[in-house]
Symmetry: C2
Subunit: 244 residues, 2 copies
Amino acid sequence: MIRNAKNALPHPTLPADTLAASSAAAERSRGRTVDYVVADMENAIRSGRLALGQRLIEADMVRELSVSRGTLREALNRLSAAGLVEIVPNRGAVVRRLTRKEVADRFQIRVRLEGLAAALAAERLDEADNRERLSAAAAHASDSGLSSIESYRRENYRLHGTIAELSGNAELAAMVRQVWLPGQMVELRGALDIDYYRQSARDHRRIVEAILARDSAGAEAAMRAHLEAGCEVILSLPSRVFGS
Amino acid sequence: MIRNAKNALPHPTLPADTLAASSAAAERSRGRTVDYVVADMENAIRSGRLALGQRLIEADMVRELSVSRGTLREALNRLSAAGLVEIVPNRGAVVRRLTRKEVADRFQIRVRLEGLAAALAAERLDEADNRERLSAAAAHASDSGLSSIESYRRENYRLHGTIAELSGNAELAAMVRQVWLPGQMVELRGALDIDYYRQSARDHRRIVEAILARDSAGAEAAMRAHLEAGCEVILSLPSRVFGS
DNA sequence: CTAGACGATATTGTCAAACAATTTTGTCCG
DNA sequence: CGGACAAAATTGTTTGACAATATCGTCTAG
């Protein structure tokens, strides 16, 4: 039952509904089972398919994913390094849940990191197809941004990620992804009201405009303001959405 | 030969010469062999015992460290996530070697991150024993700072790390460690002259003074200046010290 | 009836051995 | 000399096992 997965398609037991963000790993999944598992679980956590604080029992996931325990453990360790799950010795992995302080700390970092990214993106706007990429991401964010909470989450992530990539600093882009709030947003969904999303969309427009105008300082300021506002809103949420 | 390691001490085959910085993992090494391996290898890389670009053959390390292959692989993956080694699919792990651009990118990030850390450290100087910890680290850096290049490297790392911890933002401290240049400094040793170290020591004094005076803005400015100067010096080094 | 001791169960941590897939190396032939 | 091909080396993954630790239910003493 488990073993014939090898003879069929690479990973037949998993539904294809999560491949949106893990396409890079799914393509050449021949020689890198771990990458597939990591990408799938990352997407599952960020999208909320795995609940915050949920325990991840190795035996269960092995059965569900049709991979060996060693491979799964590798995946869990990578996710742990990425900060998405927490591994307690002899007690296993749980989907990480951020405390209020950790959320605040991350925003503090994001303000600096993404502020820098926005400034750099403005300076490098004319390189390659940077302008087009930004416009595309911004258009997506505007279009489907308010249609559903889930699409807002995805497009928001995409826009911020694109700006980080446009900075030309790959390590910076990686770190921006790293301090991004994990599934947290899932819990926050119901808690945030529509005004928050509207304001967020306005902020995004301002940031993109500044970058497109190659206004480096303006882009950084707009990004910082955006994140500081977001931080304030999220920290004002009731305690139940935070961990420990 | 390999198997009786289990019956004797936890990790008998390794020399004790590297335990200086990995004591935390060495103590309760009963239930966490992986942590021991990671700590040992991290220290080996940062201190230069493992050369940059060196290939890490699993079979060799298994023999040398007396751990199983699965455990070693876990360790390598964590080191990869930490950016200390690079894992090329089907070709194994090598001690990561940073290109000139990657070094520049990291400095760009460090300027922001450590600048923030210095500012926060100044604001939180009176909490707990922060003042004492900073003074201690600064004293060490001054005392043994110029006695040998290796001790400079260690104390420099310690001072920057202490400031990052004093910020009270644990994630920030972790990220500062993450973008710290790995073994790179090893190669740079011979390349940097004594004036660089003297200037660095002066910068450190200025930073510490500003923090001790609770001058948040001054501390941040001093830290940024310190890092920008260091970046310039390092980037002016010949290409042979950089990777690819 | 509750608190703590105790044992059974569940789960993780580590090891060992094996095989497939891939890369690297060495050799031979045109 | 250069390319084709076989051999060796190395990594990717799986399976099975056992020890160490945590969790849970039960039972007894107070």
